[in-house]
């Protein structure tokens, strides 16, 4: 290996950089575990996902060499995550805004525990004669 003295210095420099990346990732792991013990309400999941995304970016940029690699690989990687984002966005929209298709007498395990369908005439009519045919019509 005597002919590779030039490389040994690069090797040392690069291994130090990789070690620093590892320490950053371990530190972020401690932060994310620590944050999970504190109650931020619905903020917990946002914090956990934000730290996870930060860690994933560090892995992709430094361990997977995207930062110093040919840009085409970054384009492929980023486009993959963009399509994943598009997919997740529409799933979340569906979760938040879709009305139930089986509003009446929903059994505990059917797909209707999200937004409740309110029939025309509102909840007040629920005890009367109208809701049953309305439910039939929805099905």
């Amino acid at each position: 290996m005597s002919s590779h003295n030039g490389h040994t210095t690069d090797f040392k420099k690069e291994s130090r950089a990789h070690l620093l990346t590892l320490l950053t990732l371990l530190f972020l792991t401690i932060v994310t575990v620590g944050a999970s013990y504190i109650d931020f309400g619905s903020g917990n999941i946002v914090i956990a996902l934000a730290i996870a995304t930060l860690k994933a970016s560090v892995v992709a940029l430094f361990f997977m060499h995207l930062l110093h690699d040919k840009p085409v690989n970054s384009v492929i990687a980023v486009s993959g995550f963009l399509f994943l984002g598009l997919f997740l966005t529409f799933v979340l929209l569906d979760l938040g805004y879709r009305k139930d298709s089986t509003p009446q007498n929903c059994p505990p395990n059917a797909l209707c525990s999200g937004a409740r369908f309110v029939p025309p005439g509102g909840e007040a009519a629920a005890g009367g004669a109208t809701p049953a045919p309305a439910a039939d019509k929805r099905e």
């Binding site: 090797f11 990346t21 575990v33 996870a52 994933a56 992709a60 997977m64 993959g80 997919f87 997740l88």
Partner: protein, 232 residues
């Protein structure tokens, strides 16, 4: 930085105008560098399909968490946070040994390449042992997917939410575990080849590509860990 990387890639004694001298050179490429870049693009395209596969499972998990919020929080209490955190550290460390194996290979350091590859395999085995311990604990308590769920003492009686949680838990950690096992097999194959002296700064494409795969396995776990073990 980019110039040093380029130097390392080309190495000594390699003439880019005469790639035929390298036994790994395939005739349909112009240079070794073009051959390397092409392989890498192929690997990245494969990794994108992996991201989308797991993305679909994450979306399903998110949907059912929205449907059964209480059950999912209660179910996640059965997971051992310490085991999950320990496995996170093991996988992060294995990503470090992996990147060191790639660096050693492209710096012509054969012994270090072999050592770092075996260290990565060891991390994979530790990860799977912890996983086996966790799965065993779930089996004992009847915390199983779908119809096999038989755990007693849930707060919301008769809800399918618990079984749904464990369906996703076993599906996602199982698929991830399968990736770890496949990664360990490929890394062992590379370690044997590296020991035979098959890789050098002129040709270390397999180590680089398996490395990318291994980092993706780590990256997926980075999301699995907080979503399963730490959700509130």
């Amino acid at each position: 930085m980019s110039s040093t990387t380029a130097d390392l890639q080309h190495g000594h004694g390699h003439d880019p105008n005469a790639p035929e001298s390298d036994p790994h050179f395939q005739h349909h490429f112009t240079t070794m560098e073009q051959q390397f870049d092409t392989s890498k693009i192929g690997m990245w395209l494969f990794l994108v399909t992996e991201v989308l596969t797991f993305g679909g499972l994450f979306a399903g998990f998110g949907l059912l968490q929205g449907k059964y919020p209480q059950e999912f929080i209660e179910a996640h209490e059965h997971l051992q946070r310490l085991a999950g955190a320990g496995n996170t550290v093991v996988l992060l460390f294995s990503s470090f040994t992996m990147v060191m194996a790639v660096l050693s290979a492209k710096s012509n350091q054969k012994e270090k390449t072999v050592r770092y590859l075996w260290m990565t395999v060891a991390c994979a085995l530790i990860f799977m042992c912890v996983k086996a311990y966790e799965y065993h604990h779930k089996f004992e308590e009847g915390l199983l997917p779908g119809l096999w769920y038989s755990h007693e003492g849930d707060l919301i009686k008769g809800s399918h939410g618990y079984a749904s949680f464990f369906s996703f838990y076993f599906m996602m950690t199982g698929l991830h575990g399968l990736h770890v096992v496949i990664g360990a097999i490929m890394l062992s194959w590379l370690a044997i080849r590296a020991n035979r002296g098959e890789f050098s700064s002129n040709y270390y494409t397999p180590i680089d590509l398996v490395g990318l795969f291994w980092h993706l396995v780590d990256l997926i776990w980075i999301y699995l860990f907080p979503l399963y073990y730490l959700i509130k």
